[in-house]
């Protein structure tokens, strides 16, 4: 039994969660520090693990037979290390900040217990050595997400948003578990003894291909993609993330921006050999869904006025880039993991920063989330908005911020994909989508930033906003520093994940297309939103604007048509049958009770009657035997 220190990377927060809840009940401020300490330990252990694995490419694999053909345990390779460092670091920053953000909440012990549990689940998910174990942690983080979105359950929107998030991701989870079942049953039928083991999938993909064939692998890959799309909020299962913004803002930062939503990307990266060996349908589905989501969600982001929802749509759009990068596996091989994960890490850093800035703003504006009611905040709260500025230019990928390197590389790879497929027309679309995505990113980012920071305060609350104590901004400053500087490690990062990552190069014109798009977006927003011009625009009649405002009617389709008409109708029909059935059961029960009380009258306690009954009974029995027994 090798039970090394690295097990405690996910066990420490798991142990800390109940302690935080119990101790926090007595000592109000202890919960946050217990949770933060536990995650700091996880981060420290992850760093130790990173240092010990840095020089070697041999992964750590410890697993034990759980049941059937399922081994459970730990599998750590370079990809895992990156996720471990990212999750524990971002989580630590957010926990430290949450000590300030949640300071007046009466149930903060519960909050910290749940976030610690969430972090444990996420770290466990990353380290799982088996897809079923992976799925259990996947459900655990889903549960924590549900609990934390509904943390302020007294807000009516919060509880319905929690339900929506849970149900929509459930659709994806269903596809995921069907995929697991198909993979398990097809492989065990071929005599494979540990079919869901991740090292088996990573290292013995040729066995799998020869056992079940590329066609079946494609189906499995598509099912897994469904699970990943649900968790990572890709089209068409993206609708839950904007609603999940009803939770505390630190929760949005931790779960719905930085860590949990990248679990889907991590899943695809983890089992990438499946996509690499399937027929072209599976990787192309990943590519097109990702690229389409990038531009689709970005477009909606332009028309939204709630600051947290703008960031939420931006998250969906950015994850689209990561997915699209993974989808090009058939052309670039393992290198795509590097491209994608680099954006995962950079995005986690700057998105956590942006959300925490939003948290600071919302705290001083008393949860007033409409950007049109803000304005002029740069003068009122210079420190916060400076951090916001750094986050925004990183989001818009202006050089030399980190996202410029991570995101534009993905766009460049997409152009190479087009070129390597002989400039075929179908291969052009991902690049077009991603470039348009860059344009929408610039548009919604600068629109948000200008509306928040510049101009005159447009509400009483905005006029009275002020900076928080500088000490609480320290985690934000660390993240801001990283958003500006992470770009320098780009190639070392790629080589750490997969040695000999392909370095793409492309003609000058195409190289600067995304940057041009950003500049175009900047100019448009400068003209419109840095001035007061936008207040005179009347878009409410514009059909295109109406379409985007209504989120392309997708939410309405899900809730009004599918949920309310189809599922509610079905459920009321079933419930009618059910109530009829239960009435009949009740009737049976009543009848049975009546019958039973008649039977009980036989037992009247008088022995003489008993004899009579006995003799009569025996006589009847003999008669019956006479008839049926056939003497």
């Amino acid at each position: 039994m090798v039970f090394s220190y690295y097990w405690f990377i996910f066990l420490t927060p798991l142990i800390a969660a109940p302690i935080a809840e119990i101790v926090g009940k007595r000592i109000k401020n202890a919960a946050g520090w217990i949770a933060s300490l536990a995650i700091a330990i996880s981060l420290a252990l992850s760093i130790v693990l990173w240092l010990s694995l840095r020089g070697t490419s041999t992964p750590i694999h410890n697993s034990y037979r759980w049941f059937g053909y399922i081994d459970a345990g730990i599998y750590v390779d370079h990809l895992t290390i990156i996720m471990l460092l990212m999750v524990s670091f971002v989580s630590l920053m957010i926990h430290l900040f949450a000590n300030y953000y949640m300071k007046d909440d009466p149930r903060k012990n519960l909050y910290f217990a749940e976030t610690a549990l969430f972090t444990s689940g996420m770290l466990g998910l990353v380290m799982s050595s088996n897809l079923l174990e992976f799925f259990l942690f996947w459900e655990l983080v889903g549960l924590c997400s549900y609990l934390l979105i509904g943390f302020w359950f007294f807000k009516p929107n919060a509880s319905s948003a929690a339900k929506k998030a849970f149900i929509v991701t459930r659709v994806g989870d269903l596809l995921f578990i069907i995929g697991l079942a198909v993979l398990y049953s097809t492989l065990t039928a071929k005599g494979v003894t540990n079919p869901l083991s991740i090292p088996f999938i990573v290292n013995h993909i040729s066995t799998i291909v020869s056992d079940i064939g590329a066609q079946n692998l494609t189906i499995i890959g598509l099912l897994f993609l469904g699970g990943a799309a649900g968790k990572s909020a890709q089209f068409p299962l993206h609708v839950w993330i904007p609603d999940s913004m009803e939770g505390p803002t630190t929760v949005s930062a931790l779960i719905h921006a930085a860590t949990m939503v990248t679990a889907g990307v991590y899943l695809i990266a983890r089992i990438l050999p499946i996509y690499a060996n399937a027929t072209y349908v599976a990787p192309d589905a990943v590519l097109y869904i990702g690229a389409f989501t990038a531009v689709f969600a970005g477009t909606i982001g332009i028309a939204v006025n709630d600051i947290k929802r703008i960031l939420a749509y931006s998250t969906i759009s950015q994850i689209g880039y990561m997915m699209a990068a993974l989808g090009m596996v058939s052309t670039f091989g393992d290198s795509v993991i590097g491209y994608s994960m680099y954006h995962v890490v950079v995005h986690a850093v700057f998105k956590a920063l942006l959300f925490m800035v939003a948290a600071v703003i919302l705290l001083t504006l008393m949860e007033l989330r409409d950007v049109r009611k803000m304005g002029g905040l740069w003068r009122r709260m210079p420190w916060t908005i400076t951090l916001f500025f750094i986050g925004s230019i990183t989001l818009a990928a202006i050089p030399p911020t980190a996202a410029y390197f991570s995101k534009d590389t993905i766009i460049d790879v997409a152009y190479n994909f087009y070129a390597l497929h002989g400039f075929a027309f179908w291969a052009l679309w991902p690049w077009v989508f991603l470039v348009l995505g860059a344009l929408t990113t610039a548009l919604y980012t600068f629109r948000m930033f200008f509306l928040v920071a510049l101009g005159k305060p447009r509400s009483k609350l905005a006029a009275e906003a002020k900076d928080p104590p500088k000490v609480v901004l320290i985690p934000l400053m660390i993240l801001a520093f990283l958003s500006l500087t992470l770009g320098i490690i780009q190639y070392r990062f790629y080589d750490f994940i997969t040695p000999h990552t392909i370095v793409v190069s492309l003609p000058l014109l195409e190289k600067y297309t995304p940057l041009t798009m950003v500049v175009v977006g900047l100019i448009i927003t400068l003209a419109l939103y840095a001035t007061t011009k936008w207040q005179r625009m009347n878009l409410s009649r514009n059909p295109l604007y109406k379409l985007v405002r209504a989120k392309f009617f997708l939410d309405a389709l899900y809730t009004r048509v599918i949920a309310e008409r189809v599922i509610l109708g079905l459920s009321s029909g079933v419930s009618r049958i059910e109530s009829g059935f239960s009435r009949s059961v009740e009737g049976t029960g009543k009848g049975a009770m009546g019958f039973g009380s008649i039977l009980r009258k036989i037992e009247n306690g008088v022995v003489e009657y008993y004899f009579v009954f006995l003799i009569a009974g025996v006589a009847i029995l003999m008669l019956l035997l006479e008839i049926y027994g056939g003497i």
């Binding site: 029960g589 009770m593 039973g596 009980r600 037992e603 009569a616 009974g617 029995l621 035997l625």
Partner: protein, 478 residues
């Protein structure tokens, strides 16, 4: 010169002799020692020694006394579980016996002797004597409390029991008349001199032996007797003696009436359907806790005798093996789930215990309430309790013997039974002001043991593959 004691004939009787010596010793001790726990411990220890002596036999299906006494694995299994059930009762009877403990425990040991003899005998005379030994012992046990209620219950039990004894004697004589032997194995295969007389023997023996199992229409004493006697005695009456009566039924009707298997099948089909239904329906509206358990034990007897329908009515070897396994397993589980539930009524300090008297006990002692709930779940046959597996194998035997209609009736009946078992569970966790609970260790521990075993015995189902060696011990040629 060889001592009589060393002869193989007497070696098999060592456990009985040992228990008898201890019992007489206890009666003599009663002049000086009045501490009931001494007797309790002494009788439990001697029961375990008797078990060891039993296990020390060479049980290669040896027969003694001209085939009247057959020592084999099947009988040994039942002898041992009957001893376990008496030990369980002796362990938990300590609380309520206020005077003359030596008589109570000595009688228990005498009953045990009779039980061991009954589990090995294949001769109607032997069975009759052993059966009467048990009957007389239990008459005394049920009267032991000497309150008016105890005496009334005991009197009813005694009067009806005497009638049943008469039926056994009459049935045995008719059996002898038609087959010319008291031996069950040769009687089952003998050429029948007079078939109507044999049928009379069938019915009369059914009445005599079915009486202890409280099958309809012989059930009426049971409710009064269980309700009126001390809780430990009701537990014994409804678990140990019932299992023994069931074993005797198996022996007499499957071996002794092997030639009349069609009649046996119809008799037990009719009786089991009526008994199950009667017990469950009557229990539904009962408000007295012990009477409810009494009705439920009538219903359980109805499930048990389904085994006889499978063995007599089906020619499938698989169904036969499954049925015998179900019989053995159900008997063992039944001792703890039923006995433990009866012992749970010790927790209420009242004479007539209504179900509502349990309200609030779940908040005072969750351990007790959960234990009782587990045993009730086991009685209802809810997984993962051992009661579920017992019913599962029983119904599986019925289905593999193509008696699916009996399986359906049995399953419907278990569904009905859930109503009244769950009622108790719900009541226990309802808040109330009752203060009449006695939740001392002596009350809670037997219930806890029953609950733990009601779950832990599930693991015995892994013994199913080893069953074939024991099945042959029933005495039927396999």
């Amino acid at each position: 010169m060889t001592f009589v004691l060393y002869s193989p004939l007497l070696k098999t009787l060592y456990p009985e002799i040992f228990l008898g010596l201890v019992a007489f010793g206890m009666l003599m001790m009663g002049r000086r020692v009045h501490n009931r726990s001494v007797y309790s411990v002494l009788s439990i220890v001697s029961m375990f020694i008797a078990m060891m002596l039993l296990l020390a036999f060479d049980y290669g299906s040896t027969s003694f006394f001209g085939g009247a006494f057959v020592v084999n694995k099947f009988g040994l299994y039942f002898a041992i579980i009957l001893l376990i059930s008496s030990a369980y009762i002796a362990f938990s009877a300590g609380t309520r016996i206020e005077h003359d403990p030596e008589i109570f425990f000595a009688i228990l040991l005498f009953v045990d002797i009779a039980m061991i003899i009954a589990s090995f005998s294949l001769n109607l005379i032997f069975i009759f004597i052993a059966f009467e030994g048990i009957s007389i012992g239990t008459y005394i046990l049920s009267a032991h409390g000497k309150t008016r209620r105890n005496l009334e219950a005991s009197a009813k039990y005694f009067f009806t029991g005497v009638i049943a004894t008469g039926f056994i004697v009459m049935g045995s004589s008719f059996y002898y008349l038609s087959t010319g032997t008291f031996d069950l194995i040769s009687g089952g295969t003998a050429t029948i001199a007079s078939k109507p007389a044999l049928l009379l023997a069938l019915i009369f023996l059914f009445v005599g032996f079915g009486f202890k199992l409280a099958l309809v229409p012989l059930q009426q004493w049971a409710v009064d007797a269980y309700d009126g006697t001390d809780n430990a005695v009701s537990a014994f009456l409804s678990s140990g003696t019932k299992v023994l009566a069931f074993l005797v039924l198996l022996r007499v009707f499957l071996v002794g009436f092997a030639g009349l298997s069609n009649d046996v099948f119809y008799l037990f089909t009719i009786v089991s359907i009526i008994t199950m239904t009667y017990g469950n329906f009557a229990a539904l509206s009962e408000t007295n806790f012990k009477r409810m358990l009494a009705y439920s034990s009538i219903a359980q007897a109805g499930y048990l005798i389904l085994v006889l329908t499978v063995v007599s009515g089906s020619s499938s070897q698989l169904a036969f093996t499954l049925a015998i396994f179900a019989a053995m397993y159900y008997s063992l589980v039944y001792i703890f789930m039923k006995g433990g539930s009866f012992l749970a009524s010790n927790a209420v300090n009242k004479d007539k215990i209504e179900i509502d008297d349990f309200s609030g006990i779940g908040l005072k002692s969750p351990l007790f309430a959960i234990s009782l709930a587990i045993m009730l779940f086991a009685l209802a046959g809810i997984p993962p309790t051992a009661g579920f597996f017992a019913k599962y194998y029983l119904f599986l035997a019925l289905i593999s013997g193509h008696l699916w209609y009996l399986a359906v009736i049995g399953i419907l009946n278990s569904a009905i039974s859930v109503f009244y078992y769950l009622k108790v569970v719900v009541v226990m966790f309802r808040p109330s002001e009752h203060e009449h609970f006695n939740l001392s260790k002596k009350v809670v521990i037997p219930v806890l043991i029953g609950a733990i075993l009601s779950i832990a015995l599930s693991f015995l189902i892994f013994g199913y593959p080893n069953i074939s060696g024991i099945v042959s011990g029933l005495g039927i040629g396999v």
